[in-house]
Amino acid sequence: MGRMLRLVFAIAGKDIRLELRTRTSLLSAAVFAALMLVVFNFARDPTAVATLDLAPSVLWVTVSFASVVAMNRAFTVERENAAFDGLLLAPVSRELLYVGKYLANLAFVLVVEAITLPLFVLFFNLDLGGAFPPLVLTLLLATAGFVAVGTLFSAMVAKTRFAELMLPILLLPFMVPPLIYAVKVTVPLLARRPLSEVIPGLNFLAVYDVVFLTLAILLFPAVVDE
């Protein structure tokens, strides 16, 4: 178990270190998220649509597209100098390799969300109050699921000529179910309705995470073995 954790953290740590050196994904995703929020903020008419009706959709559209931007680089960095061959050659199971890449991607997207959420609150002039912890939990659960799928598809498209175009095309349909439930949970949270209303949505997100993370771990070896 200790060896497995060491390997997983070595792989995730390598990706995080690479990203900290270049800041390509994080910076582009964070700027993209901020721009989207600015555009939505100035494009909306508060007298026509209530803020609470619009805000959940804006949050999740921003988070989903910024996540795709952040995940795009996960396997393209591995193409330099055929570095991925070095990982595949090592006596490390493909499943552990996936978990390491997944954790790094999850960290990237959560950082982007940590930047997005305060901007969202600021632009929409929201008082989250007691809704903050369940909203963070919703972000965690939704993100864990679509990053699982995104990491798998990112590996799948990395060797194609149009990897950056292919990832959103493949990933977005799989993001729809968790996004729908994430919005359904966020609406009552922002409206300060009882927490009991959001439990079914959170349950769905948790089940989605378990199912798709398991599927992705099982399918990853077939994806990376040529």
Partner: protein, 238 residues
């Protein structure tokens, strides 16, 4: 259960298709410790496919590969442990320093004290002073030496080399040949894929020519390279 003294490499009936294209068509290969196999062939003959299959990087359509008596399968990642790979690509991350690259490799191979081993490996390649530099800041020859340090870090019994002399000048090429000669002791073996027999002729104990995914020639290294070259040209012309 591994047999008492298994060959270092034992490939049986290796076949690989890319759609309609047949890259390997039933290749058998046995390599014992102390042997160096030089694999030649024109472009598209299946040389790199063979090497990648032996490394476990490519799943053959049919056939098996065993390294030191253990079948290369997805379920047994440890079977890849005796393999080292050196190609014209360095397998190094450009945004990590040489030291970080080698420590990562040492961690993945579960080596004791990866930083100490990484320092020693870089020093052995004359790169101790460049340990904190990134690969892209090095010359092609230095990058190849860094790649060698990475490939040999875990002291692999089997070294697979894919066009290792590509892009090296004469001095760097000689240095690489010398290093490979030192590396290939009784307990180890090498498979060298190249277009130019002269690059590794002196290292080889056996020579094979792949044509259309099959062995067209496979024997102990002939004594006369010029004579072999004529045979090779005739084979390649069909």
């Amino acid at each position: 259960m591994p047999s008492a003294d298994p060959p270092l490499v034992e490939a049986r009936g290796l076949a690989r298709r890319y759609g309609a294209v047949r890259a390997l068509a039933g290749v058998d290969l046995t390599l014992r410790r102390g042997e160096v196999l030089l694999v030649l062939g024109p472009n598209g003959a299946g040389k790199s496919t063979l090497l990648r299959s032996l490394a476990g990087l490519l799943r053959p359509t049919a056939g098996t590969v065993a390294i030191d008596g253990r079948l290369l399968t997805r379920e047994d990642p440890d079977a890849r442990r005796p393999i080292g790979l050196l190609s014209h690509q360095s397998l190094l991350y450009d945004e990590l320093t040489l030291m970080e690259n080698l420590v990562l490799a040492g961690t993945l191979y579960d080596l004791p004290d990866p930083p100490a081993l990484a320092r020693a490996a870089l020093a052995a390649q004359g790169l101790a002073q460049r340990a904190d530099d990134r690969p892209r800041s090095l010359s092609r020859g230095m990058q190849q030496r860094a790649a060698i340090a990475r490939a040999l870090l875990h002291d692999p019994a089997l070294l697979l080399l894919d066009e290792p002399f590509t892009g090296l000048d004469a001095v760097a090429g000689d240095r690489l040949r010398e290093l490979l000669r030192e590396h290939c002791t009784e307990g180890r073996g090498m498979v060298i894929v190249t277009h130019h027999a002269g690059e590794a002729w002196e290292l080889a104990t056996r020579v094979g020519v792949l044509l259309q995914g099959r062995w067209a020639f496979e024997s102990p290294r002939p004594s006369d390279m010029a004579e072999f070259h004529r045979t090779y040209q005739e084979l390649a012309r069909g």
